[in-house]
Symmetry: C2
Subunit: 198 residues, 2 copies
DNA sequence: AGGAAAACCGACCAAGTGGTCGGTTTAGGC
DNA sequence: GCCTAAACCGACCACTTGGTCGGTTTTCCT
């Protein structure tokens, strides 16, 4: 059981940094000093292996970093700002950053492996739905202007997050983060309820 | 010379839809009914081949779609909005859309091939610099509020564009485009000069 | 027509790929 | 101690990869 978990952890590490197709099963086994036999005893194929990683590790990661910090609080706009800020700050301090895991895998598997794509889209969908409903609740509670199109806002927020994570890899991540956050703050402000004109 | 050009064109096609590492030289040659000999007569390696594609095709494409339509006009905010709208509309109608070419390659080569990364970053940089200077000119001409941080705005715009292109692939591209554009319009509005209070 | 250079062919190579399988080690219940 | 089954080993397989090279065809200039 411990072996299985170790395989998944280093599997995700390598898949994340080298890509799925560019990481061989042997690469993972070499890093763990294990043999082919051990791998195919626990998993029936490389694809199956990756799907289990998605469900066991990726899904939890996305939830704990991008969903859980936002849902269930009163002011969604402030929560979103803080959540993005934390996530980007973590990325800045991670010298082995390769962008948003979900974004990278979505890009890599597009049109190649439908089965894997389905699982990735499921995770993405959970994030999106949560964001939309959090915004709608914020509207109900008076933290978001009632004219705001919550689905549109969620799409825009996710887009910008995916994009900035890609931009931040490598060149001046800290500066890019700072610039991004300043504009995000402006955008979020435009979602706040308009004070009634005198 | 015609052969060389055909190779680059279909090379870009396949690299774009399948990824660089997941596309073999043989794949490209099979589609063109050419042989290994022809390939290695014109190019010294797969890497060299791709670099030439970047310089000959990718650079021009990015310029004609994302740079040229924006620069040189008066109101940069309107130009950006129209430019993004056109680019996204093209993507919506392209049933073989796999996201923004530049974004995908930047993601794929990160940490793998420094030489190629350099060339990709160069193209990216040109786009970024152009966007910043266009915004600054807009500021000078009174189309952009003088308090706007142009570099931050450019980062934010590029981020959101990269991200939405990824989101639009596959699931409901048209709806996603519409939602994105509505929020982009809002954001760009917040960059307009504030009318002086009465 | 002739000849040389440019363009192209395709068999071949070493290195890797995902996956198989017969066999060995290890752990736990009796 | 014994036996079974889970866990693991590593040689092996068919196949693909990027790249080479000796040779053939095309093209074009004189």
């Amino acid at each position: 059981m411990a072996t299985m978990h170790r395989m998944q952890t280093t599997g995700l590490e390598l898949f994340y940094s080298n890509g799925y197709y560019n990481t061989s099963v042997d690469d993972i086994l070499k890093k763990l000093s294990l043999s082919k036999g051990a791998f195919y005893y626990h998993f029936e194929s490389k694809e199956d292996f990756f799907i289990q990683i998605i469900q066991n590790l990726l899904a939890r990661k996305i939830y704990s970093v991008l969903i859980e910090p936002i849902e269930g609080h009163d002011d969604p706009l402030k929560q979103i700002l803080d959540c993005f800020d934390d996530a980007l700050e973590t990325a800045v301090h991670n010298e082995m950053d390769f962008g948003c895991v979900l974004n990278n895998f979505l890009t890599e598997f597009r049109g190649k492996d439908e089965k894997i794509m389905k699982h990735l889209c499921d995770i993405f969908s959970i994030w999106e739905v949560n964001l939309v409903s959090t915004l709608q609740k914020g509207k109900f509670n008076g933290f978001v202007d009632r004219h705001v199109d919550c689905e549109a806002a969620a799409t825009f927020l996710i887009s910008s997050y995916f994009g900035v994570r890609t931009l931040m890899v490598g060149v001046a991540p800290s500066a890019r983060k700072y610039r991004f956050m300043s504009q995000l703050r402006m955008y979020l402000k435009s979602l706040e309820p308009k004070t009634v004109a005198v």
